[in-house]
């Protein structure tokens, strides 16, 4: 730094005003004590990440505030940026007024607001969202904002921990519905990622049906790595609720959820009957794309690519 200051020609700071000198001069109890050697340091209690306490965000005042946020600015923003076309909500009409797990594919930060404004009543306003503990709960400010605006709860994705799953299961037991993105993170290249077993595990543990949901188009608006959204069109397609078969473990159920989301994706690009035919024949196009080199995967995305080629020649 001092080199840089010299290069920039900044005046030299007097040694008496140096931060290190100033605070280094302070001694205990004005500064924190150091731990003696040979003594095990007291374990620090984390209040961020997976340890963040979100219970305040499920109390009445926070729920009212969240409902106002979802129905006001969030709905306006989603309508303006994403112009969503919502299909398949009629498949949920006969369900009793009990919790559901909504499992959707994940391309963008816009997915959560899009889902929160698309999920029909009576589930929309009693909803928790599984959010990455390391990302959304990294600091107290982001944790508080995520909890308040989205009803987020921290889900550990970088380490194996029961706490997240237990919290989600307890809340489902209390009547809260869960929105979860089983891919574990946003798509890095426009293609989907294999579904992890979280939603399937929770469904098996709580006996709550999983509603597969396919989101299309959000990657064009705000893909991973971009910070400025670009308005485009999106679609949200709800599938029929699924429950695990008695002899189906979480991994197999997760794969079935993934296949259903793939069939919904097929339904958006073809038609319902073709999609069902291919689903039963096991021919639904894979969400994860071809296993090939990077450029070929990008090429295979076609119109779903996040950036459109710039036109260099006029139309003739």
């Amino acid at each position: 730094m001092s080199k840089l200051a010299k290069q920039l020609g900044l005046p030299k700071i007097p040694a008496a005003l140096s931060v290190r000198r100033l605070f280094g001069a302070l001694d205990f109890p004005l500064r924190a004590p150091s731990t003696p050697k040979g003594v095990a340091p007291k374990p620090q209690i984390r209040t961020t990440g997976g340890d963040y306490d979100t219970s305040w965000a499920r109390k009445r005042p926070a729920r009212i505030a969240r409902a106002a946020i979802v129905e006001g600015p969030m709905r306006l923003a989603v309508a303006g940026l994403a112009a969503p076309e919502r299909n398949g909500a009629d498949r949920l009409l006969d369900l009793p007024d009990e919790p559901l797990i909504f499992a959707a594919n994940h391309h963008s930060h816009l997915d959560t607001p899009l889902m929160l404004t698309s999920i029909p009543e009576p589930w929309r306003h009693k909803m928790i969202v599984g959010a990455a503990a390391d990302y959304f709960f990294g600091t107290k400010v982001t944790a508080a904002l995520s909890s308040l605006a989205m009803g987020a709860i921290p889900i550990e994705r970088t380490k194996i921990e029961r706490r997240s799953a237990n919290l989600a299961a307890d809340l489902i037991g209390e009547g809260w519905s869960l929105l979860i993105f089983p891919e574990g993170g946003r798509s890095p290249d426009g293609w989907g990622q294999p579904f992890r077993g979280g939603a399937a595990f929770l469904a098996a543990k709580t006996g709550v049906p999983v509603v597969p949901v396919h989101l299309a188009g959000t990657g064009r608006i705000l893909r991973k790595g971009r910070s400025v959204p670009r308005p485009s069109t999106t679609s949200v397609t709800f599938g029929r609720p699924l429950t695990p078969a008695p002899d189906e473990n979480a991994n197999r159920f997760a794969a079935r959820i993934e296949r259903e989301v793939a069939a919904l994706a097929d339904e958006v690009t073809t038609d319902w009957y073709t999609a069902r035919r291919r689903a039963y024949a096991g021919d639904s196009p894979d969400l994860t794309g071809p296993e090939s080199g990077r450029w070929r995967r990008a090429w295979a995305l076609g119109d779903r690519r996040a950036t459109k080629r710039r036109r260099t020649w006029p139309d003739i």
């Binding site: 398949g88 006969d94 038609d271 319902w272 009957y273």
Partner: protein, 538 residues
């Protein structure tokens, strides 16, 4: 799903003996209403049963019906790759009014198609079995079948309206033992399996009538849609006493022997026409149980309707979608399925009534099977009153032979020029000459049925077939023969006289006019319909 305990234990229909304490009774009056004070001590009012509870899991019940059909194999075992599958379904004349989404047809057809997809069936056609009714529009098809089905089949031309006048699209299957021709849509006739999806709102619907009439043409339908048959159908709501149904069943035998295999799906719905809550819920409550809120709603609604132009009133009522609930679904063999359906229909609709009456009254609503999203013209008023409502009986007619029928309807001289072109000519030209159904049938039916222009409009526009107004008139032939006089309260006088009936300004006037026929102190019975009821007269 009904959660209110009162909805789980609905009260049956019943007969009220009117006394001096009885409040004025609600009469439907087209797209408006009337409240009429009926004479005490000699008037009965027949009230419909409250809506039966809907099935708690409609999707599960449909699936169960398809997997465990009556006297037939499970549907999945009938579906094979490479087969020709045709799914025919009831047209927009059912239910009345149209139901809220998702329509039952959508629920059933999606499940049938899902099974077909699992079996790998590629060649699937969906046909609106509308016989000689008008074609359904895209919006109407989307409402009945849902966007998923429409978008999957309509763009490829695999979802369409039946065309009974397509020279290349119809085949003759043979003759019945009474020498009645049996014709059928060619695609359906050549299919390996026809799945017919019914919505049985009344006991007249379903059975062999679905395929023998719905997928047929004029040459087949004329054998039962005629004056002699309708006069022998007592009533056509009672399948076992209906010549209309006997003829259809005979044609069904021919279909069974020479046509495609039929897998019949029938459904019944409850009486929840106007909802438990909301502005129209008052219409399915008994008058003495109207709360202050109901009364205020009714008065506000009536005042509003009084000052509105008729087009606005029509638009409002046509936009009403009934919150019907599915009460039963059964599939399999046509005849066995239909018997179960009838039981469910009667469970909701039948009300026991002792003895006939001198004067029968009812208010006609804004809708009948042939004016969905359209105009209720005077011929349809006749058909709804003397055809449908009069025939809402089992045993014997509610009104005695030679009795008087008093209906309430504005009966405007108004027609929908696109939907009902032949009705206009029938009303303006033929009814001016005669109202006798036999004479009309003998002199003019063939001419209207074979008119090239009407056929062109039926096939390419949204017009009812040229012969359709005749059928409407025949529908009332039994009542015309039975009744001593027909009076329409509040009807347009010229229209009413053209129909051969008498107009009256008020109910008091109508009862006064009726006394010429049935004496000064006649017994009166009012049919409080809709929601639908059927009198079981002993």
């Amino acid at each position: 799903m009904a959660t209110d305990p009162r909805r789980q234990a609905p009260r049956p229909g019943f007969v009220l003996n009117v006394d001096r304490q009885t409040p004025p009774i609600l009469f439907h009056h087209g797209d408006n209403f009337r409240l009429e004070k009926l004479p005490a001590d000699r008037t009965r009012v027949i009230y419909p049963a409250e809506p039966l509870p809907g099935l708690p899991d409609p999707e599960g019940s449909i699936r169960d019906a398809l997997l465990n059909p009556i006297d037939d194999d499970p549907l999945p075992s009938l579906l094979k790759p490479g087969m020709k599958l045709t799914i025919a379904f009831d047209d927009l004349s059912l239910p009345l009014p149209s139901m809220r989404k998702p329509d039952i047809r959508q629920r059933i057809i999606e499940q049938v198609l899902d099974m077909a997809a699992a079996a790998g069936v590629d060649d699937v056609h969906l046909i609106a079995a509308l016989a000689l009714h008008r074609r359904m529009t895209e919006d109407e098809l989307r409402h009945a079948l849902g966007d998923r089905v429409y978008d999957a089949f309509a763009p490829q031309g695999a979802l369409y309206n039946h065309d009974a006048e397509d020279p290349d699209g119809m085949v003759e299957l043979g003759l019945t033992r009474h020498d009645e021709q049996v014709t059928m849509n060619k695609r359906a006739a050549e299919s390996d399996l026809v799945v017919y999806v019914n919505l049985n709102i009344v006991s007249m619907d379903g059975g062999w009538k679905s395929t023998a009439t719905g997928l047929s043409g004029y040459s087949g339908i004329r054998h039962h849609h005629n004056v002699a048959t309708m006069r022998e159908s007592k009533s056509f709501m009672d399948r076992h006493s209906s010549e209309l149904h006997h003829s259809n069943w005979r044609q069904g035998e021919v279909i069974k022997n020479h046509g495609p295999r039929i897998f019949q799906i029938e459904t019944t719905i409850n009486n929840n026409t106007f909802g438990y809550d909301g502005p129209l819920s008052v219409l399915q409550k008994r008058e003495w149980e109207w709360t202050a809120r109901d009364r205020a709603t009714f008065m506000g609604m009536k005042k509003g309707l009084d000052v509105m132009p008729s087009s606005a009133r029509r638009q409002i009522f046509n936009s009403w979608k009934a919150p019907y609930e599915l009460t039963s679904v059964q599939a399999g063999n046509v005849e066995s399925v239909h018997e179960v359906t009838l039981e469910h229909c009667f469970k909701q609709h039948l009300v026991p009534v002792e003895g006939q009456t001198d004067v029968l009254t009812f208010g006609l609503p804004y809708i009948c099977p042939y004016n969905v999203n359209s105009v209720m013209n005077p011929i349809l008023v006749m058909c709804l009153g003397l055809g449908y409502f009069f025939n809402m009986y089992r045993g014997k007619p509610l009104v005695r032979e030679g009795g008087v029928l008093i209906m309430s309807h504005p009966t405007p001289w108004e027609f929908h020029p696109v939907h009902h072109p032949s009705y206009i000519d029938f009303f303006e030209q033929l009814l001016a000459e005669t109202t006798d159904p036999v004479e009309l049938e003998q002199k003019y039916e063939k001419q209207f049925a074979e008119d090239e222009w009407y056929i062109h409009l039926y096939r390419t526009s949204y017009a009812y077939h040229g012969v359709h107004p005749f059928y409407m008139w025949y529908w009332g032939a039994h009542a015309l023969q039975w009744l001593g006089r027909v009076i329409i309260v509040g009807g347009h006088p010229r229209s009413v006289r053209r129909l051969g009936f008498q107009p009256a300004s008020t109910m008091q006037d109508a009862l006064e006019m009726a006394s010429d026929v049935v004496g000064s102190s006649p017994s009166i019975t009012h049919l409080h319909n809709p929601p639908i009821l059927m009198a079981d007269v002993t």
